[in-house]
Symmetry: C2
């Protein structure tokens, strides 16, 4: 396995990053986990380099010395990608916190990976530009983590996910070499697509040190509505009906009854009245440049919704009300976490299969005795299934639940879907990779990993 | 090297594809070239399999026997990707000609690689759906070739290139295994992105046998205008100015004076009067769902154009006139080809660098004594540089021109660009891959190639 870190290693690291080398317990503890359930594994040292050259020296040394390295961003991940499973070095990217250049001529931004996604969004918005992908954790997650996980978020239904915006990456290889994966261009047919291979590779192939992203013009107007449904599967059906009528909302978020109620309690915000017969809600946003067209889009959406049984539709009347509704939606994950021990599955299917997926979730829950709270990006067919520990025994939780999850993922793949839409595989979904992929596909991935990291020192124990 | 094909090999192939095995000279000749300049290399046999299983048997056999295999689509490529450099087997995908399923619920289509791109577009348009990427050769190229080359086309400025639409691929590996690269979903964070690795890999990693593409709602209206400029660099400047004013046209095509005049002659279409002082034209299209908004977009474009010196702007007044204008643009490549021996370079830069790129092209042409005709997708910064043989001697053409091209590509990379935007590297640009990529990056690509094709039997001699 990997070598343990000794005092001579620490001396070397200090020669590279000076005082940004940490071995105190508080630091080690802080980097022992991300937002994934209750998993804590201590690293042996935390390094906070501030340049690609420092990382190059560190990687070359660790590769030679057989020390394992786990890259770490804002630790908001939900699949355990930043957990140092084999201890060793945590390489925190937090000092890479600069928006290097906003290129207004070409609608591009060059940014370091440790910039908070919302900070990046605000910086480009000041120039009238828009970087759309915004995971629920946008106020705390790093753009480098978003690229590594190929993050999505509510706007993906209209604007796509992170990888559709990544034009070029500067990366440090395990050998210490620093390369660019592509060019700063909108179209590129020059060799294998290393940019897209690194994007979504969860920090297992290389360390990302600079990111060039495509931007678009920032929309000037949006409208937001919250629609209660008496039946969750009907809410999912409505999503497809809206899209098939030629409207592409900039958000179509699904929340089961408990997701909304638990979040209201968590935030102590009772502004929305959830009636007894409300089984689920859709939060629907349209955005664009022309208020009249947006109103007309909303009217069309209302027309479509008339085919379905809904409660009274709430239109947000102020920016404050929009912010409050989005805060409710964005806080569901935290609220569920605060309520119970849970496991979150990040299922994704072709969106017309959403009602069937929801049905499978509940059926399997009934069979294995667990309760679930579901919410997510219905427009993309991406359903977050939160399985609640509640009254389950530790034995049920640890031994039976993996069987239930396997059954759920098998149904997901049968529906044409896969086991992660935007959270990544990391540590906690690794055991299920044989469900979406054949052994041969996994072999290809293992071989690609070996191309970039022959000794397996970079983020070991993840994905495959 | 590779084994030559003998009668026992032919017997095996006939046992798999029956009468779809060809060794007659006419067939061999037909598959000896694509649309790339004047390169002809005969294969030893042409196979036309009709199922993934047939391809699996062929690949397994060729891999064991060390026979090389060159996949072949509609042979409209411009980088020599389909030329059987080492002879051997040409694997024509023309029997894979079915649109398998148009999924109107999920806005997806499953298609075989041998379907002509325009046939696919028309099939989905009947359902109100839109597959946007449309290379100039859309009436004859195959969708499988588009995926293999990551093709672009005029609409890329608004709608993106092929890889943004590829959700999932069925591929046959050199070992004969048949796998799917992903899932039929809009977002996917499950393992390494094999789908994007195969897309644009120019038939060097695997044989694509099924393609699942994302579709969008088909726009209902469009407007088209042709704008003459007195100065080519000013035309390029105007492109950036339009985009910076928040308009995203669905096409922004640049044509130098000679490109338009040669094409008029080639098509015998003199409907456009090119004045003596017209140095270049922009063909600008807007599309959408609301005619009033499109008119307003055109008015905004006219306002922007007032800052520049232009000739009289032509608005297409009928579908026939739109078709004629697009035909002119789409025929430039063929017209140049008909006019002279030429070489086409597929340069791409951040679009604000287009005027500088054009300037470099002309300066290098002056230095080395060649004339060039430039045209392309100005909205994406993608300039096709057609170098005309004209009066150049064979010695100049064969010995000096590569030096000039190297000088041009070096400038392109300095401008932040790269050496192919949409045509691929194939055979003819391979010698320049050291300009955009470091030796380490090329090594990574070679190693990825070896993962998929350890014996190097698949489309040898291409990319790297």
């Amino acid at each position: 396995m990997y070598k343990s870190i000794g005092s001579e290693d620490i001396s070397f690291f200090e020669s590279i990053v000076q005082e940004r080398c940490f071995v105190d317990l508080e630091s080690l503890d802080m980097y022992s986990h991300d937002e994934t359930e209750d998993i804590f594994i201590l690293p042996e040292v935390v390094l906070k380099p501030s340049s690609a050259e420092e990382i190059s020296s560190i990687m070359q040394y660790c590769n030679e010395q057989n020390l394992c390295v786990t890259p770490s961003g804002a630790r908001t991940g939900l699949s355990g990608g930043a957990i140092p499973v084999h201890h060793g070095v945590v390489l925190s990217m937090e000092k890479f916190d600069k928006v290097i250049e906003i290129d207004e001529q070409n609608y591009q931004v060059t940014v370091e990976p440790g910039v908070i996604t919302e900070v990046l969004q605000n910086a480009v918005k000041e120039k009238g530009l828009f970087y759309p992908p915004d995971p629920a954790s946008k106020g705390s997650c790093f753009i480098g983590g978003n690229v590594s996980e190929n993050s999505g978020g509510p706007k993906a239904v209209k604007y796509g996910v992170t990888n559709e915006y990544v034009l070029n990456l500067q990366i440090v290889l395990t050998s210490g070499e620093i390369i660019w994966t592509g060019a700063n261009v909108l179209k590129n047919a020059t060799g294998y697509n290393l940019t897209q291979l690194i994007t979504g590779s969860e920090g297992t192939l290389a360390i990302i040190t600079k990111i060039v992203l495509k931007l678009i013009t920032h929309p000037t107007h949006d409208l937001l509505m919250l629609v209660p449904f008496m039946d969750s599967e009907v809410a999912c059906d409505a999503v497809g009906a809206i899209l098939r009528n030629g409207i592409t909302p900039s958000g179509m978020e699904f929340m089961e009854r408990d997701a909304l109620i638990w979040t209201q309690e968590f935030l102590n915000d009772r502004s929305i009245l959830v009636e007894d017969n409300h089984a689920a809600h859709l939060l629907i946003e349209v955005d664009g440049f022309n208020p009249e067209i947006l109103m007309s889009d909303c009217t069309k959406i209302m027309d479509v919704l008339e085919q379905f049984e809904t409660g009274e539709i709430l239109f947000a009347e102020s920016q404050a009300q929009k912010d409050a509704l989005w805060k409710l939606r964005r806080s569901v994950g935290e609220a569920v976490k605060a309520n119970s021990i849970y496991k979150e599955e990040d299922t994704v299917v072709p969106r017309s299969a959403l009602p069937a997926l929801l049905n499978h979730v509940k059926r399997i829950g009934y069979k294995y005795g667990f309760k679930s709270v579901c919410y997510g990006h219905a427009g993309d067919g991406n359903l977050h299934v939160n399985i609640i520990k509640g009254e389950l025994t530790d034995k049920q939780w640890n031994e039976e639940l993996p069987i239930a999850i396997r059954e759920l993922f098998t149904e997901v793949v049968k529906l044409g879907g896969t086991i992660s839409g935007e959270h990544g595989i990391g540590l906690v979904q690794k055991q299920y990779m044989d469900i979406p992929f054949s052994e041969k596909s996994l072999d290809l991935m293992r071989s690609i990993k070996a191309v970039f990291d022959p000794k397996g020192i970079l983020n070991p124990g993840k994905i495959i």
